[in-house]
Symmetry: C2
Subunit: 167 residues, 2 copies
């Protein structure tokens, strides 16, 4: 957005800005996941990350659909939050000497990513409804449901196996 | 952590590193909240942020207690994730021209912060239990419960009032 102008005047502007932010975030996650897949040792965890990579590509397509439904061209704006979350994931995983402990660290990083997406999609859905765009809210809800399901799967995998192997 | 050494060899090391990360994050939130309070217009939202500032100071004290229970001196390590989330909050709020829309943006930013804390405390509690430290898990759970309650209060305030005023 502008450095010297205040570009967000309405809730609609804020909704579009937030769409652009999560569009950048989803594309950044697509770039980051192959590294996480490469670092994971547990086959179920690797498979979970691979499934989520495929899902994330669909999330990008859904966002492009919402942009169009809302009369906007898809556009990404910088999202320092996801950049920070991914940077932290890289730093921590680079510091772990043991591959079972690394799996536990990778799950924690992936859940930080999921929670960022959960909060942003939750907000976008509330704003879409307030703006009378239940059609956009419905599409965004599909992605939110998948992000929450991924987070629960990661919790279950961590608590049933990965943390025990790491301890 | 070390640039040329892998300092995290065990799940216990990872637990302590994550404690140091969230300790930095909580202290960063204490510095950021007064700015958010100053920008908020709705009196209930301002009051909500003020209450959360007081709670966050208790969260820092609880973390110091957990460090000591675990035989560690309280120490903060850089947390690029929270830095990115706060940077994004500052950038977006600086771009909003209307005070009702700004309140909606501030709630969204606060919920991004809450979700970061929710994921980190959730992970810390799972790791503490795996390490046989139910005593640490119990203290961390008190904070997690408060973070979740704050997130729900913010959702409720956004959906019942703030988003409608912004639209």
């Amino acid at each position: 957005m502008g450095l010297f102008t205040k570009d967000i005047a309405t809730l609609d502007d804020l909704f579009v800005h937030q769409l652009q932010d999560i569009y950048y975030a989803e594309k950044t996650i697509i770039k980051a996941l192959p590294t996480m897949i490469g670092k994971a040792t547990d086959p179920q965890l690797r498979q979970g990350f691979e499934t989520h990579l495929a899902e994330t590509k669909v999330h990008v397509e859904r966002l492009e659909r919402v942009f169009k439904m809302h009369g906007q061209s898809p556009k990404a704006v910088n999202c320092p939050a996801i950049d920070g979350i991914i940077k932290e994931a890289d730093e921590v995983s680079g510091d772990v000497a043991n591959k079972e402990v690394l799996d536990a660290a990778l799950i924690a990083s992936a859940q930080a990513v999921e929670h960022y997406e959960i909060t942003r999609y939750g907000t976008l859905i509330a704003w879409a409804k307030q703006l009378g765009r239940n059609d956009c809210a419905t599409v965004l809800q599909e992605t939110l449901d998948e992000e929450k399901a991924t987070d629960h799967k990661l919790t279950s995998m961590a608590e049933s196996k990965i943390n025990r192997k790491a301890a």
